[in-house]
């Protein structure tokens, strides 16, 4: 695996804002344990296949991070806001379908969704918005 791919992976992981659900399986002194499903994920992602030879515990952490975000490759559009992998160090989504979701940024998508709902508002511009609010209790 090239250094730039590893760098992209590390940057993507670092950018994940969610608290990692890092339930490490296996003993840190020994090799980590992978389920059959996880082995399949490793096999179909070139970066993980390469990384597991040098650093299986890093692969364990990647899989735990993936599990905390999403596990469906064909629908994985969750992306880490603020992740900024260099353009020349991106992970090839075709070769790494499960890692694709870690490197995308979507403030534009969030704004688009906001505007879609604005456009859908009945009588857009005419109707008075109804704001559901629960004030702070403190």
């Amino acid at each position: 695996m090239s250094r730039k791919h590893l760098a992209a992976l590390v940057i993507a992981l670092a950018a994940l804002s969610e608290p990692a659900v890092a339930e490490l399986r296996g003993s840190p002194e020994g090799p980590p344990v992978f389920t059959a499903a996880e082995v399949a994920v490793i096999t179909r992602n070139a970066v993980l296949s390469a990384l597991i030879q040098d650093n299986p515990w890093a692969v364990r952490r990647v899989l735990d991070a993936l599990a905390a975000v999403s596990t469906t490759p064909s629908n994985g559009s969750k992306r880490a806001v603020g992740s900024a992998a260099p353009a020349d160090a991106t992970i090839d989504p075709l070769a790494n379908p499960d890692l694709d979701q870690l490197q995308r940024v979507s403030p534009e998508a969030l704004l688009d969704l906001f505007r879609l709902l604005k456009e859908a508002q009945p009588g857009s511009g005419g109707a008075k918005p109804q704001t559901p609010v629960k004030p702070a209790s403190r």
Partner: protein, 198 residues
């Protein structure tokens, strides 16, 4: 004169910092409040509620309510606008790449005739209720189907969503309003905090 200019710039930076702090505070508040309101204090549930997609999920429900998407016509209009947006997006490969989406995923998220009928019928029979797969379609821009399911499950356990299987095998979800209230409260408190200048 220079000192005056510097002071003005300093003031501007201080105001910028205050705004930045407020934005950070608001996000933190949302996650604190949503966890406080959760009927389940199971760490597994709370850990999902603390995920970024939970914020986006709540924002979506808040916008549905705040934008008064209430009737069958309203939800159909939203689905039509969503479909049009997706068609436009598939014609813009650069934007698709920017958003990290591909045409296959986008086409899956479109409302075809049958899914549109289902969307309208469910909303008509039980206003505010969506089939979970249709909810995932509407949220395709911001999260995966699996993430949507995961957040919906956690929100159901937290008592924010009613989530039940229909006799036809669909998973129906309906918010009880808590998510929207918490999200709206955080946005309003943020606005007041910014207006007060700190």
């Amino acid at each position: 004169m220079k000192r005056c200019k510097n002071r003005t710039e300093r003031d501007e930076i201080e105001a910028d910092l205050a705004l930045l702090e407020s934005l950070r505070w608001s996000k933190k508040e949302f996650f604190d409040r949503i966890c406080q309101e959760s009927k389940s204090q199971d760490e597994k549930v709370l850990s999902v509620l603390r995920l970024e997609p939970a914020y986006q999920f709540a924002e979506f429900y808040y916008l549905l309510r705040a934008r008064r998407i209430e009737t069958e016509d309203d939800i159909q209009r939203l689905a039509d606008i969503h479909n049009k947006y997706i068609v436009d997006l598939t014609k813009d490969p650069k934007k698709m790449a920017r958003l990290g989406l591909n045409s296959e995923r986008l086409l899956d998220a479109m409302f075809a005739a049958d899914t549109m009928r289902r969307l309208a019928q469910i909303w008509r029979d039980r206003p505010g209720t969506l089939d979970q797969s249709n909810l995932a379609r509407l949220l395709v821009l911001v999260m995966s189907t699996e993430t949507c399911r995961k957040v919906a499950v956690a929100c159901a356990k937290a008592g924010f969503l009613q989530r039940e299987e229909s006799p036809y095998g669909m998973m129906l979800v309906c918010s009880n309003g808590v998510l929207e209230q918490v999200f709206g409260g955080c946005i309003r408190d943020l606005r007041h905090r910014i207006h007060k200048g700190g």
